[in-house]
């Protein structure tokens, strides 16, 4: 055992603790939040302690899970995402007392996805991630939220079915369920091809790649703001992690089967996602389409299929997540008791709350990929990976997408710096928990832009796929 799964156990204990806290005192739900946050922090400390453990990499449960530096990096990312979501929605009665427990359950699913090395564990992780999110999406209690929950449930179940079918075909074609053994097994070709295609479709559905993105804008728009934050960051990390693990471990040899297809999907997603983002007036929808486009960037790292690609993807997940956390916590503060922020709500924000506007500007510029923010370094890393893999098409697609995206991201900023209409000149109130998130996320974004070397060092270690170039 040697504690390799310690972070996961911490999260399980956190789920129990927050459930018990809710049962003990139904009025003071804050105990549940504290319990969940403590679990997240404990898991984070354990993850950090495991980092230099000599026992890694280690396979457990008949090669069902594989704990290595990659899975630890994913753990760190999803822990950050859930800590952010918990703080953004800190003790808000609107989302019900179950919010922290459900967030932790979904977090567990994401962590399982990070270390899955077996079809069954993979599927377990996907379901563990999805089921709490279906409930969370519907937890707002208003009509759009219920619609989002139902839509997410139906389409998610559909994609799970496709995924399961694909996994079954792959098992039939190879005779093994272990990802690391897939490369060495003799595959029955048409069956394996179909299985691979269906599995990849099921996974990119969770990632929100065009043309499997239809659910993303509606679900993001309808869900309560903290849930959207969590979905935008955490789900993306989990889905990207398992897609990378599945393809790099299982199909590095048969790279010709999936690499061109994923490359085209990536370019399509980056360009179309950003184009659609241009047309949005609702900030949640804007970030939803931005999330789609950013999933395309992540796919660049995967379809580059080299070590630099995996590293760039990990790095980009971090910078994207920080920008999303910052942007959503600002939006949550602006929205207050409402649940959406439109372009008009941002008008004159610079006069009402100059600091908040500055934070939003950093987040948006990072998403747009302007230097001295993390977003630029992330895109730079992805470009390196794409060009190193001799895929200039991916590189061009990336920059074209970034160009279009830029216009989408600066529009809210222009609104914010515009003069207000004078109706709501009161400064925006800062809840302490949200302020913590936004300050940390903004400092991290700038820090990653100015001095990314330490994080580059970490991702270079964690994505050690030695058999790749």
């Amino acid at each position: 055992m040697n504690g390799a799964l310690g972070p996961e156990y911490m999260v399980v204990l956190g789920v129990f603790a927050s459930m018990i806290a809710v049962m003990v005192s139904r009025q003071r739900t804050i105990a549940a939040y504290w319990a969940a946050l403590a679990a997240v922090v404990a898991a984070g400390i354990w993850t950090a302690a495991l980092w230099s453990s000599p026992a890694l990499p280690i396979s457990l449960y008949a090669q069902g899970v594989r704990v290595d530096l990659f899975s630890l990096a994913i753990d760190g990312l999803v822990l950050l995402a859930s800590a952010g979501a918990l703080l953004v929605g800190w003790n808000d009665a609107r989302y019900g007392a179950d919010f922290p427990a459900l967030v932790l359950l979904a977090l567990l699913g994401m962590m399982v996805l990070g270390l899955a090395n077996n079809f069954l564990v993979l599927f377990l992780g996907i379901e563990l991630l999805s089921l709490p999110l279906y409930v969370l999406a519907a937890s707002g209690g208003y009509a759009e939220s219920r619609e989002a929950g139902l839509k997410y449930l139906l389409l998610g179940a559909f994609s799970s079915g496709i995924l399961l079918f694909g996994l079954a075909l792959l098992y039939g074609a190879s005779g093994t369920m272990v990802l690391t053994q897939l490369a060495n097994s003799s595959l029955i070709l048409p069956l394996a091809g179909a299985g691979l295609a269906l599995t990849v479709v099921g996974l990119v559905f969770k990632l929100g790649i065009i043309p499997f993105h239809m659910w993303v804008p509606d679900v993001y728009e309808g869900s309560p703001l903290p849930v959207t934050t969590f979905m935008a960051f955490g789900t993306k990390v989990g889905a990207a992690a398992i897609l990378l693990r599945f393809l790099f471990y299982g199909f590095s040899v048969a790279v010709g089967w999936w690499e061109p297809a994923l490359g085209y999907l990536a370019v399509l997603t980056m360009v179309a996602g950003n184009l659609l983002a241009l047309a949005q007036k609702d900030m949640k929808r804007l970030l939803a389409y931005s999330g789609i486009a950013n999933a395309g960037y992540l796919l660049v790292g995967i379809s580059a299929h080299n070590q630099a690609g995996a590293r760039a993807m990990l790095f980009y997940l971090l910078v994207y997540g920080l920008a999303v956390l910052a942007a959503f916590s600002v939006f949550t503060m602006v929205a207050r008791e409402r649940n959406s922020v439109s372009l008009n709500d941002l008008t004159g924000l610079a006069r009402r709350s100059p600091w908040l506007t500055a934070f939003l500007a950093v987040a948006m510029l990072s998403l747009a990929g302007i230097p001295l923010t993390g977003g630029f370094v992330g895109k730079f890393y992805l470009l390196q990976a794409a060009l190193d893999a001799n895929e200039p098409g991916l590189a061009i697609g990336l920059v074209v997408g970034a160009m279009i995206g830029l216009a989408a991201y600066v529009r809210p900023l222009q609104r914010a710096f515009q003069g207000g209409d004078g109706t709501s000149e009161a400064p925006v109130r800062w809840p302490v928990a949200g302020a913590v998130v936004v300050v940390i996320a903004v400092l991290g974004t700038i820090g990653l832009g100015v001095y990314p070397a330490p994080i580059v060092h970490i991702v270079n270690h964690s994505a050690a796929f030695d058999w790749l170039r």
């Binding site: 459930m19 809710v22 049962m23």
Partner: protein, 117 residues
Amino acid sequence: MITQYGALLIYVLVAFLVAYLVASSSQHMGPKAPGGLKRVTYESGIVPEAPVKYFSVRFYRVAMFFMIFDVAVMSLYPWATSLRSLHQAGMLRVLAFLAIVGLAFFYVWNRGGFQWD
């Protein structure tokens, strides 16, 4: 191979063709009378007088809980059949499992999941 199954293919095609022809013959041959009562929801039924009542969503909740706890308890059967060979370790793990299920059960109870209203 193909010659062997060729007959089957032709059979399937003919079957589909016949089914299609029969099913679509009324559309091709019958008179068309659009408009009027055709637009009513239940063209040939009873005109609904009150808003339609779907069956209660509470049944869905009951079904969900039944599914979850039933499947959970089902997992005890394989353990029970190999109780002896699993010794104490198996016992401990099942107890842990039951504790988790029990916690979930009490949570649902506490949050009012079993109340009919």
